[in-house]
């Protein structure tokens, strides 16, 4: 019993140490405009992702930003949802890092960095998000969700078709099992509530 208790304490300690290093996302509001800013924290402190980048696995950071409007006595109203993605990749031979910003309907934007520190400075900057503001009066808040993985969109699509049994034989059971061993993570955050108009 005592051993089990000690083991539980050890596991809890390990889990909390790990979560201190885990990637986080932070959502804040700009003073005056209530424009949201989204900041990604700890990506490069998390050995899981640091090692993946070093091994030239492209990292995809998928962001989803929701604007919610409070409704008294009922579920909140999802006013808008916007998504974008950062893809971080490394050309091992050239030792160059590329950050590609992907927004639906817009051309991808690629930036190159010659060191991990430069990339880190860029990725950890708060990103202002425009064109998502409330157009009605009321009490609002933003919620941001970050999903991170080493899989590309094409691989997700392949996997989805495979799960749906498209019959192309692409993968089989083992690849599903392998997915459990691949790193994935999520993080969420919300801004404080703000009022537009009379509330």
């Amino acid at each position: 019993m005592r051993r089990a208790f000690l083991l539980a304490l050890l596991l809890l300690g390990a889990a909390s140490a790990v979560s201190a290093q885990r990637i986080r996302v932070e959502a804040t509001l700009e003073n005056g405009t209530n424009r949201p800013r989204v900041r990604t924290i700890n990506l490069f402190d998390d050995p899981q992702w640091k090692e993946a980048i070093a091994a030239s696995y492209p990292i995809r950071l998928n962001y989803q930003l929701d604007l919610w409007r409070s409704r008294s006595g009922w579920f909140p109203d999802n006013v808008t949802t916007r998504r974008w993605a950062f893809v971080i990749s490394r050309q091992a031979v050239l030792d160059v890092y590329t950050l590609t910003t992907i927004v639906a309907g817009q051309e991808p934007r690629a930036e190159q960095f010659s060191s991990l520190d430069d990339l880190r400075l860029r990725v950890e900057l708060p990103v202002p998000i425009s064109g998502v503001g409330a157009t009605r009066n009321g009490s609002f808040w933003y919620a941001v969700k970050l999903g991170i993985s080493t899989l590309s969109a094409e691989e997700f699509a392949d996997f989805e078709r495979y799960l749906q049994g498209s019959g192309n034989g692409g993968g089989g059971i083992a690849s599903t099992l392998m997915r459990w061993a691949l790193p994935t993570g999520t993080a969420t955050a919300e801004t404080p509530r703000f009022v537009r108009g009379g509330g």
Partner: protein, 569 residues
């Protein structure tokens, strides 16, 4: 300031002009436009860049290069990996691979400029005599040891870990040889699929695809109901763009699943391989057909098909399973053998926010099948299940409908609703391979396999075939993300539950025989809701897998536990 700092600033200065206003921001107010180049670099453009770079007369440079004002470079120019600042004059065509070009007010390029994996920035006063063309996505090109430009091998996709493939490119044609494991089942064992596929890019919009796959069945069939080898092939012309159309032919000799298909294919395969539980039934099909897929918009797609097929019963074999190896496999049911002409019309409307794990939007799919035969050898079934089928002049219409609504109720909670139905519409009764059942596990989590299969014989078939004419199921789920992290990490592998979703769900549905007569539901009606089965349950969905427990509301069924590799719907 360090060299890297300067490079970073330089890179940001050369970035997309909009970025100059807010170099790091995301602006959703910028209007979407169709005039931007496609993200993917067409194969013909890659070929053009390679030909230009490798041409004997091309001047090749790499890294950051500056052509000072007053200097002139003549002939073909190419830059690999770097920034090219042109203050002087380039008399000829210029190709930049994975880099940017900036033409300052004094800069001139008399020919075409092609930039792959970067930007063309022309300052006021800068001159481009030819056509500028840029693709921001990094080009999959690299230098060979002898300095020639070549295509980079594609990064291995997830499925490649259990597969092998090799691609060859010649001009605008990409040929791939592949080897994949198919889905495990009790008729074939593990099918191994291998063969070539070929894609010929006619231009940016149009391509021809051809696939030929041979199938080796690892389990022998001592009864001789099917061969050791199978195959399938497909050739299609794809015309891309916002509204794409695909037209092609398909053919094959395969083991196909019957219409009643509980669980995802991978779950069925895993059940067979690990626990000797194959949740699908199979038949041998040799077919040839034409098909068309039309994308009217990203949300709306249509499909049409006409296929001639020969369908025959196959037997379960003594395939290997990890556990319960001493048990007999469930027999594979008899089907109605015959030659069929099947016309199909399908439509899909999909506004889901995420196809793998949706939380909002609609997914509506409907498929109509008209099946005809002049050479049918039907299985003899009791009249109370199915009237006798004609051996010629067979004609039946059936439908599959799947309507799903995903509604978010807050940042961490959502409501999912589904209406799933299908079966006979008109004409002759359905063949066995097109009949339905109410399945336990999926979708009715509180019931056992084929809880209602309409087999009313005094001694039901141990194969438990799906023999109902119609099925209709309603499902509802409430999902809430739990802010708990019960995971730890061993090496780079995360074990445990990270922000799992709590799932509360309820299902109700039935399957029945349609038509006139005792024990049948009239064709124009659905079965009385008082006779429907229903269940409620709870589960935890960890993303990669989910565990569920459910209990029937109307029958004395035990609690049933389920393990799924994907969301329930």
């Amino acid at each position: 300031m360090t060299r890297t700092g300067l490079l970073t600033i330089g890179t940001l200065l050369l970035a997309w002009p909009a970025a100059a206003q807010d170099p790091i921001g995301i602006d959703f107010s910028r209007p979407a436009t169709d005039t931007i180049p496609r993200r993917e670099i067409p194969d013909s453009i890659l070929s053009r860049a390679i030909a230009h770079y490798n041409a004997p007369g091309t001047t090749r440079v790499s890294g950051n290069v500056e052509l000072p004002a007053g200097n002139v470079w003549r002939g073909r120019q190419a830059l690999h990996r770097g920034q090219f600042r042109i203050d002087g004059r380039v008399e000829g065509d210029l190709v930049v691979i994975n880099g940017d070009v900036r033409i300052t007010p004094s800069g001139v390029v008399t020919g075409d400029i092609l930039v792959l994996g970067g930007r063309i920035l022309v300052d006021d006063g800068g001159t481009v005599g030819g056509t500028p063309l840029e693709y921001a996505i990094p080009a999959p090109l690299t230098l060979s040891p002898d300095g020639m430009l070549m295509r980079q091998s594609a990064r291995r996709a997830l499925s490649d870990y259990t597969s092998a493939s090799r691609s060859f490119t010649w001009r605008n044609t990409v040929t791939t040889l592949h080897l994949d494991p198919g889905n495990y089942n009790r008729v074939e064992g593990l099918p191994i699929e291998l063969g070539p596929s070929l894609v010929w890019y006619r231009d940016d919009q149009t391509r021809l695809t051809m696939d030929l796959t041979g199938i080796i069945r690892t389990s022998a069939d001592p009864t001789g109901s099917r061969g050791r080898l199978g195959w399938r092939g497909r050739a299609a012309v794809v015309h891309g763009g916002p509204r794409s159309i695909t037209f092609g032919v398909r053919a094959g000799s395969v083991i196909a699943p019957v219409a009643d298909q509980p669980y995802q294919m991978v779950e069925s395969g895993l059940g067979a391989f690990l626990f000797r539980r194959d949740f699908r039934d199979w038949y041998a099909m040799r077919s040839f057909g034409l098909f068309t897929d039309i994308t009217l918009s990203p949300k709306l797609q249509l499909s049409l098909g006409v296929d001639r097929s020969r369908e025959e019963t196959v037997n379960a074999v003594d395939a290997f399973s990890v556990l319960l190896g001493s048990e007999e496999w469930r027999p594979n049911p008899l089907i109605d053998d015959g030659r069929f002409l099947t016309q199909s019309l399908g439509a899909t409307y999909d506004t889901r926010d995420d196809r793998r794990r949706p939380t909002s939007g609609w997914h509506i799919r409907g498929v109509l099948h008209r099946v005809q035969s002049n050479s049918l050898t039907p299985v003899s079934l009791p009249q109370e299940i199915r009237p006798g089928l004609p051996t010629t002049g067979y004609d039946a219409l059936d439908i599959d409908v799947d309507v799903r609504r995903y509604q978010r109720l807050g940042p961490d909670q959502s409501l999912h609703l589904r209406l799933l139905g299908g079966g006979w519409l008109s004409g002759n009764s359905l063949t066995i391979q097109r009949r339905r059942a109410l399945n336990g596990g999926d979708p009715m989590a509180g019931y056992g396999f084929r809880a209602i299969n309409c087999d009313r014989r005094r001694r039901p078939d141990p194969a438990q075939p799906a023999l109902c004419d119609r099925q209709l199921i309603v499902q509802a789920e409430y999902r809430r993300t739990l802010g708990i992290d019960l995971s730890t990490r061993i090496g780079n592998t995360t074990l445990g539950l990270q922000r799992p979703e709590l799932v509360l769900f309820a299902d109700a549905g039935s399957a029945w025989l349609a038509g006139d007569g005792a024990g049948r539901v009239p064709s124009g009606r659905i079965q009385s809701i008082a006779e429907w089965r229903s269940d409620i349950g709870v589960g935890l969905d960890a993303g990669s897998f989910g565990i569920y427990v459910a209990r029937s509301l109307v029958d004395s069924e035990p609690f049933r536990f389920g393990f799924r590799l994907s969301p329930r719907f």
